[in-house]
Symmetry: C3
Subunit: 351 residues, 3 copies
């Protein structure tokens, strides 16, 4: 019986297989505090119990991206320990919020497999689902990664490429909070701009830059129990392709989301992740900036108190975003871009 | 409608104006743990619920300086985002303690404005107040900062320089705890020295030095949701005056307060901040030392169980304090001094 | 009255003396989160309240090694502030688990004294005990340290060298959890290997390496309120023997324990520490690896649901452990070895 788990290689996956991830994770106000110290988020719904109660929630829910990382972290040991690259996300839907004290479990279903022509790797498609202790879905999303084969002579599976949604339909967006007239405090939210004030095509520079220290991204990834080796082992990475540890891509997402408060201060929760690309790696010492474009303004069926904005947030390293790098789809990719993230946020309407 | 908030410039302030800061902040045992990891405070009242109960409190209150930073952090985006320098503090009074689970809000009143002769900047005086969820004051204090003008041609306001107290009167010191004979455990407090044992003029070297890492001061400032740019952005600061990120001045206050346990072990709470000066900036890699002088020994009206000590704590960088640098008021300022802090602590009396 | 506490020197200790350590410490979910962020432990019993409940506990207990460090941290100011070297541990027994909200106090009894021939130092033997707020023992262990004399002319005490157990007897191992047939979820534990699957003599490489940052080991030591100067003061250590801060030895123990999850995933709790040696110091930038050997497989009296494994875990720096460095007792000590730790873990049996 092998005691250590080497992680799954490409030939270990089967379409239809369910991967049961370990361990479950009780999320606490301690995790929230560490997350706050790492990213400095200021969205009022996560920062204050009374504010959360003013929009009908029992208390402050955990930041949407902390929820994402906690689910994602569980999947790493089974899905991507032998991955070369995280290729993409699709169809990410946030369900009921996570509250401190909740315990999440995560499972993944293998929904596609595609051997690469090099014979050494293949693409694995999974749908990962995070549930709370009552079995309610807190998040599900598709991810595809390029995974090494253990044995290059292992027979290749039949090609199954799943149909992935280009976006989560508006009808599937779940909004757990509600705003009643006169009860939404824009002053304490920190922004007067509501759903009504945004226009598709509008671009917002989030102005500030945040430098990443190696200690910080390692603290974050360990908090999520994400065990991907490249983030932690300088002894090996010093001899690797970049000569240093690689920052967990999700760290950049959280930085960009926290920076986006300056311009999207009422974007209280993330409802969906439509897609995302980590165009280049980040390292300790890099400074991350971000800008956003409003891709669409979606009314929610049956709701006049809250709407959704579909947002594209681009993050860069060591380059300010006043000129919106990467906005011109025809231009060559700006090498300073490290993230291109397509998601929907929930934001109160003017009532 | 401008989506990003550039912070207030000098010409945006009006005497009498109230700034409503965002977001509110629920403070938890998670915040306390991160604060403990950052500074290593050992004052028994914060470290142990049963100890706090032994002096009549419901449970361990949050460290006085964590309370200060949480209130201060809220004010930055409105008061000092465009500040060049934090010039001083006065009249700081701690009210009811913050307990984990409490939510604080903060507002500031503009109490003075003084344009500088250079025409590019001015001094803004504010009184900031932190309240808990029951509307009780946890802290209020005056601060004045030098703030840039957006437009150097903007007309200057009338000069209003508020009268600031040289110190908080003893009658205004609030002591939320009480000591009963035979119930104060000096062994578990870690010091046998009580109020009776200190003498005005006495100097105490706190002996130890603590090195600051960049990751640490950034974790701290983000925990407080303090968004001052100079602490976080190496990409910009590398080209700046110092070539590196500047440590939040309050970080040095917290280090000095934690170091002062060795010599002031029973100084359970801070009751007042009379004044403070950050004489020089600190940077990642600096090692902070501190010494204190007892400026005054104040009996509290109607109380024979607890007294106040007015303390001056001087912190240095990369210089031990066995010879009390800065004690000689006539000598030139020692360039190693980074903080000169004048405050009152509450300390049990021998009963 | 001396206000600062210089710590005890060799001549200050007396056999039979009790040292009452300060302060007491309420341990919270915040401390657990910071610990998780620092080490990334994945043992299911600490990670999930429902998992802990599935083995009969009220909720997730605090990690065994966090419990150890919290007790140890309290002792430093009285036992080892003037220590030159931490020489060894023996007879460490874990009692009732610590749960978030518990408050621990720690005392130490001086059980031995042995002056060294150099006349400048001596060995101090203590038994330290940590109790919770109900007076139940959470941990007790012996430790011996080499301590400086304040005055080399101070008379030497009579030599008392205590008899220290080579190991904690199996009958003294305390197992606070219980497994009932069909209720132990190996999938959510993350390993299918139970007590039955291990064989004395078996060696396990824990594969992964974890790099230590200076910010991290300082955050950890301050969390435990461990005040040993060598971990914190670069200004002094830069001129010292190594030219840099020394990582708290317990930090390496926690890293090794967290890494050991990969191979010992069901080793839910530590029951005993038989001995341990920090063979070489670690510094910021070092990458720690670990491997383990099963020294013995012990049935617990009256229990068929859980057994003990006596484990030797060896940790190295900047050297992978696939070839089990240090396994050959006759060979010269590998200079990459930083820890040799002898302890017992509790692990469910196949029922």
């Amino acid at each position: 019986m092998t005691k250590t788990r080497p992680g799954n290689f490409f030939e270990d996956f089967r379409v239809g297989q369910t991967l049961v991830h370990a361990p479950a994770r009780t999320i606490t106000v301690g995790d929230v505090a560490v997350y706050t110290a790492l990213f400095g988020p200021r969205f009022a719904i996560h920062s204050s119990d009374p504010f959360a109660q003013s929009v009908g929630l029992p208390r402050a829910p955990v930041d949407s991206m902390l929820a994402f990382h906690m689910v994602f972290g569980r999947t790493v040991a089974d899905v991507s320990l032998n991955a070369i690259a995280n290729l993409g996300y699709a169809g990410g839907r946030f369900g009921v919020p996570i509250y401190p004290g909740d315990t999440i479990t995560a499972d993944s279903n293998v929904i596609g497999l595609k051997p690469n022509k090099d014979g050494k790797t293949g693409v694995v498609y999974v749908r990962s689902t995070g549930l709370n202790q009552r079995g309610e879905t807190v998040l599900d999303y598709c991810r595809w990664v390029m995974v090494r084969k253990r044995d290059i002579d292992a027979p290749n599976p039949e090609i199954v490429v799943p149909e992935l949604p280009a976006s989560v339909p508006v009808a599937e967006l779940h909004c757990p909070f509600a705003v009643t007239r006169g009860h939404y405090d824009v002053a304490r939210a920190g922004s007067e701009c509501l759903w009504d004030d945004y226009t598709p095509g509008e671009r917002i520079d989030h102005v500030d830059g945040m430098t990443i220290e190696d200690a910080e991204h390692m603290l974050a990834a360990r908090l999520y129990q994400n065990t991907a080796k490249v983030h932690f082992n300088l002894h090996v990475e010093r001899e690797g392709r970049f000569g240093k540890r690689i920052v967990y891509g999700g760290h950049v997402i959280s930085l960009a989301r926290a920076l986006s408060y300056n311009g999207l201060g009422n974007a209280l929760l993330v409802a969906a992740i439509h897609g995302g690309r980590h165009s280049a790696p980040c390292f300790g010492g890099d400074t991350v900036y971000a800008w956003s474009e409003v891709l669409a303004k979606d009314a929610l069926p049956g709701r006049d108190d809250v709407g959704a904005l579909r947002i594209r947030t681009v993050a860069t390293k060591d380059r300010a975003c006043a000129d919106f790098p990467g906005h011109d789809a025809g231009a060559p990719l700006d090498p300073a871009i490290v993230l291109d993230f397509d998601y929907s946020v929930l934001i109160p309407r003017r009532i």
